[in-house]
Symmetry: none
Subunit: 120 residues, 4 copies
DNA sequence: GTGGTCTAGACCACA
DNA sequence: GTGGTCTAGACCACG
């Protein structure tokens, strides 16, 4: 399960992975988040690293902590929708950047995205 | 310079990196490719690994070898254009896959690409 | 077992030797190919060299790899027949070249091949 | 110029090479044979090895020695023709052996030689 | 145990 | 100095 990019802090990559769980609905609003130790094992990282990722997610308002019961996904659907929008934006901007990297101009890149044929 | 993803063969990543140099025009057709050993140093890999990448690129028709003079980017513009098209396709499909990963359906993903606002 | 011609890359000679195993039927279609390391020992070469030969044979479509189970001779009889035809052609052309080297003209060489008496 | 097969005595290979010079007419009957030392240099071998090859050729009746003047190609055209015939025979038998090695039967091999289309 | 990958270091031909 | 080849030895993923 550990498949991290070199030289990018692991906890940032963890944050992203978990954000995907949440915005994609695999972890619906209000769901209980698995215990840190379990998550750490699943992702093959040190519990401290996972802890840090969850902390940041909490500061981001995507999860909240109930002192004794554990962590839960926020019930604030708007917040989730916003994050999804952000990630979506990043994906698209990233794609455009890569297209520019292939020698296309910004305009060409935009055009390619808009006109591609949805094969597969 | 070494910034490789974990668990993806380095030589494959090298191939991709060099393809970008070629299709983007940073290495124009007919240009001399830097010597294996120099490229290997730049990318922080073993010369043999770089050699393998170049070998595959040669089989792919993107570069050719002149025994003692070095390697050169192909002058076949069509070949280059084809490869650019392939890479472009991969970028877009990848973006769609990531969007689906965020919980969007295929249709929504396509729509997002087509309608996004291009101001960054 | 190592009996290689000087100044011809060993891996090319390995390729040829293995092609003969396959087209001659000593390694029938679908047969499991011995493990790289074993072949390397048999031929008295480094495993990497043998690996390279097998890689090229795979690109040639004569063998295929099953990740953990090993390599196998292709089941594509047409492909095998084609290769046999190629090798056969090379043998004949080679014979003609040698005959020309003995001072015969192309016509004489052809005639000699066609008219030789088959008792050995 | 040194391009010898491994594990076959070099002097035998030299004999063959020189026989080809003679039977092909590149060294016509009665021609003076270059001095041993010069031949040895050309072929990249030790003069003693070359000497041995020439000795055998002399016993074979293909060259003869004039005490002070050097060595000469025999003027016996029949002898030369015979040797050419021998070499020719060897080439053809060798080709048949290789074809059998590709999985053809003796009959098929003979047929292939007789019916091949003289392309090139 | 299989194949796949990577590194380090060496030697060679060519010009 | 270029590319090409070879060896030795190591580590990894997959089952």
């Amino acid at each position: 399960m550990n498949d991290f990019k070199a030289h990018i802090p692991i906890y940032l990559q963890l944050i992203n992975a978990i954000k995907q769980f949440i915005v994609s609905g695999r972890w619906p609003p209000g769901t209980r988040v698995p215990p840190v130790r379990e998550l750490a094992t699943q992702f093959g990282v040190n519990p401290n690293t996972m802890q840090r990722a969850l902390l940041e997610l909490e500061r981001d308002g995507l999860i909240f902590t109930e002192r004794t019961a554990g962590r839960f996904v926020t019930k604030d659907n708007d917040r989730i929708a916003n994050v999804r929008q952000e990630l979506c934006q990043k994906v698209i901007e990233n794609a455009i950047a890569e297209l520019k990297n292939l020698g296309f101009t910004e305009q060409e890149a935009n055009l390619l995205l808009k006109t591609h044929h949805s094969g597969s």
